[in-house]
């Protein structure tokens, strides 16, 4: 109330009565008001931070592996079974293909093609399941040959590093199956697909990590 009266007084000041009123923006039409949409969602940022933490976790494991690997010129140690390089190489290709399919799925929903998204997510989940099955089968064989968690530092490192990655792939696969089910029910649209996007980020992370671990543990 007091503010209104003050404004009226200022408006009726004799000095300003004959003055030209200021104009704003000239003759141009005002620009359209843009909604304040953030460039990234909170979930996207949270998953990005999670990936940073996961990367540091695996960096710690790789650091431990480097200590034992470089300190031992003979690697694998004598009387220890050799790791299946060829089969795991094929498995690596399967896992890398799954990263391509999930990225294509993301592109499909950006175009609004929901059926293609569901199909590509199925392929991704199948590739992840095949990867885990082959890994599990090879693990059983290695256990049968005597490579256990406590048999040597070689076995301990192998099962810790590769096992941690397998647990991450398993978790990512469960997440992927949830996303697949949501995609089937039509949750994701051309405008809203952040759940799929974050799952894709996590999946690509675990896939991109694998060639590094394969090169270190199996080939180095």
């Amino acid at each position: 109330m007091a503010r209104d009266s003050t404004a009226r007084k200022l408006d009726e000041t004799p000095a300003l009565r004959g003055a030209k009123r200021p104009g704003f923006g000239g003759g141009r039409p005002p620009p359209p008001v843009r909604p304040n949409i953030p460039f990234a969602s909170n979930l996207w940022l949270a998953v990005l931070m999670l990936l940073g933490a996961e990367a540091m976790f695996f960096a710690g494991l790789i650091g431990a592996f480097l200590v034992f690997r470089i300190a031992n010129p003979v690697w694998p140690p004598p009387f220890q079974p050799r790791l299946p390089i060829e089969v795991t190489g094929v498995n690596t290709v399967i896992l890398l293909a799954s990263a391509i399919t999930i990225r294509l799925g993301l592109k499909a929903i950006q175009r609004g093609d929901r059926s293609r998204l569901v199909r590509l997510l199925s392929w991704t989940a199948a590739a992840g399941a095949v990867f885990l099955s082959i890994q599990g089968f090879e693990w059983f064989r290695l256990l049968h040959f005597g490579l256990t968690l406590s048999s040597s530092i070689y076995g301990g490192l192998f099962y810790t590093i590769i096992g941690c990655h397998a647990v991450h792939v398993f978790g990512a696969l469960i997440w992927l199956l949830v996303v697949w089910q949501r995609a089937r029910t039509g949750t994701y649209t051309r405008q809203n697909y952040v759940g799929l996007q974050t799952c894709s980020m996590y999946w690509v992370f675990v896939v991109a990590l694998w060639p590094l671990l394969y090169g270190l543990v199996y080939l180095y």
Binding site: G23, P32, L48, A64, R69, A71
Partner: protein, 95 residues
Amino acid sequence: MTKKIISLSLVFGLSMLVRSSASWACAVCWGGDTGPTADAYNSSVLFLMTAPYAVMGSIAAWLFYTYRRSAATREKSEGVEPLVHLTWNPEESGR
């Protein structure tokens, strides 16, 4: 009080000098600074030193890339004029 803290710190520091082997920072450095074990630790330490920079750099680069792409997409889709027109323009205002 300050004198007490300083004298206690001096006693602690001198005792560390006397029993230097017990106060080594790394409990596995008994092997010396050469040899495969030392090389292994050096390589691992170097790797772990670079890891946080690589991770934080990747996150920052990803954020920057996403921001640039988002801004470019928005400008293209809306065809919006720059926000500078919202400011008061003395030439166009007629004052």
